[in-house]
């Protein structure tokens, strides 16, 4: 665990540093795969940054709207650098809406655009698991297995490493190189969602901090199962809509 990287007089939060590195590496990888989906580099970068900036702004405004009294008492908090004053749902919604508007203006098709973003998402899944390892968040359940790591007063499953390894393997399997054969439009994205949801569903069982829902079920597993089901349904639809060979010949 290394939550803070002390370099000279600077104390740099390792998790944030890893996420930034993931954004950079993910964008680089997505840039290499973008031509397969008919996107040029500028469009890809603008697409991502429009979504990111819009997500940050709507996340902050959404949080402020939910806690209006706190922000009326301290309006300067609107421009604070704290991650803790962001509403994740508003950020996600704002980012997606901004991405959709950008796509409409640039005449981007939804499925190829999602495919172009898939390598970036894959890299972010790897780095977010590593960020959790650095900060000690999303920790594992106690275990006596020989590869347990000492964390928070007990020997625990290194569940962050399980998740990072799985995400890395999924990334390498789905996007081996930029000149790989093209899949059906939307398939790169749906395969990433399906594999990642499956991995989350499996490894969540070894977490020590799972939130639970009705019947003691782990909430993240139920959400991952729903995401897996939606991705499999989408893949089935894409496979059915695949053009017949004779139509291609025509």
């Amino acid at each position: 665990m290394l939550p803070i990287l002390n370099i000279g007089p600077f104390a740099i939060p390792t998790a944030e540093l890893l996420l930034l590195a993931g954004l950079w590496f993910g964008l680089t990888l997505a840039e290499k795969h973008a031509p397969r989906h008919g996107l040029n580099t500028d469009t890809l970068y603008n697409f991502v940054f429009v979504m990111l900036i819009s997500g940050l702004v709507t996340g902050r405004l959404g949080y402020a709207a939910r806690h209006l009294d706190a922000f009326l008492a301290s309006p300067a908090s609107l421009v604070s650098l704290n991650r803790g004053v962001l509403d994740p749902v508003a950020a996600l919604g704002g980012g997606l809406i901004a991405g959709w508007i950008f796509g409409q203006r640039k005449s981007l098709s939804l499925l190829p655009a999602l495919d172009a973003l898939a390598p970036l998402l894959g890299v972010l899944l790897v780095t977010s698991a590593l960020a959790n390892l650095a900060s000690g968040d999303a920790y594992g359940a106690e275990t006596t297995l020989p590869w347990a790591i000492p964390l928070w007063g007990a020997a625990r499953h290194p569940v962050q490493l399980y998740e990072a390894t799985a995400a890395g393997l999924i990334l390498g399997y789905l996007f081996p190189h930029p000149r790989m054969p093209n899949r059906l439009p939307g398939m790169d994205f749906l395969l990433l969602i399906a594999w990642s949801a499956g991995a989350r569903l499996f490894f969540e069982a070894f977490r020590g901090d799972s939130l639970t829902t009705l019947g003691g079920l782990r909430t993240a597993q139920v959400a991952a199962w729903l995401a897996l089901a939606a991705a499999l349904w989408g893949i089935t639809r894409l496979r059915r809509a695949k053009p017949e060979p004779q139509k291609i010949l025509q």
Binding site: A73, A76, S77, G136, A141, L228
Partner: protein, 185 residues
């Protein structure tokens, strides 16, 4: 491998069924969030206990504050972000202390000095208790890596959130403290 549509549907149903079974099985495994029993400087764990003195010689023990939400802030007088966030902490303290909020500002005196800590508190007009961690024991208990570090502790002594670094936004302080106060039975 490119399975036929019928085989694909069969595989998909099998995957989803296996997933549902795994969810049911893993609900029985240990690890789902339960009442914490271990002390650790991490959200979801009991806040490590300590007893420290103020510069005036008053002794304060964290264990005696059960029943009150506590904001524990580790700081030093030479730390810029610590200085930047203290006025907001003072305003929040004034607004919420009558509702039961306790703020403990633990000075990392092993990296600072008691005289500098007192001058700092007087300069900023701080009225919440300043505690002196003379030998750095509390810093070690809380795995202190950066200043300031803040721990939002609920009335049951469980850490609800850790914020490493600063300055914290005043709105963040207010929302977290209102949340802690809302949980007090």
């Amino acid at each position: 491998m490119n399975p036929s549509p019928k085989s694909w549907n069969f595989y998909s149903a099998g995957i989803l069924l296996a997933g549902a079974l795994w969810i049911a099985v893993s609900a029985r495994l240990p690890g789902a969030l339960a009442a914490p029993t271990l002390p650790a400087p991490q959200a979801g764990f009991l806040a490590p206990e300590f007893t420290l003195q103020t510069p005036e010689g008053e002794t304060i023990a964290l264990a005696d504050l059960r029943g009150h939400p506590v904001l524990l802030n580790l700081w030093a007088s030479w730390c810029g972000p610590c200085r930047a966030e203290m006025p907001a902490m003072q305003r929040v303290y004034e607004d919420y202390r009558d509702l039961g909020l306790v703020i403990l500002a633990v000075n990392a005196t092993d990296q600072d000095s008691a005289a500098a800590a007192v001058a700092f508190a007087n300069d900023l007009g701080l009225t919440f208790p300043i505690l002196l961690d003379l030998d750095g024991a509390v810093g070690r208990q809380y795995a202190l890596r950066a200043l300031p570090s803040s721990y939002f502790i609920d009335a049951n002594g469980v850490i609800q959130e850790v914020v490493i670094g600063g300055p914290m936004a005043e709105a963040l302080l207010r929302t977290r403290i209102e949340n802690l106060l809302g949980q007090v039975p």
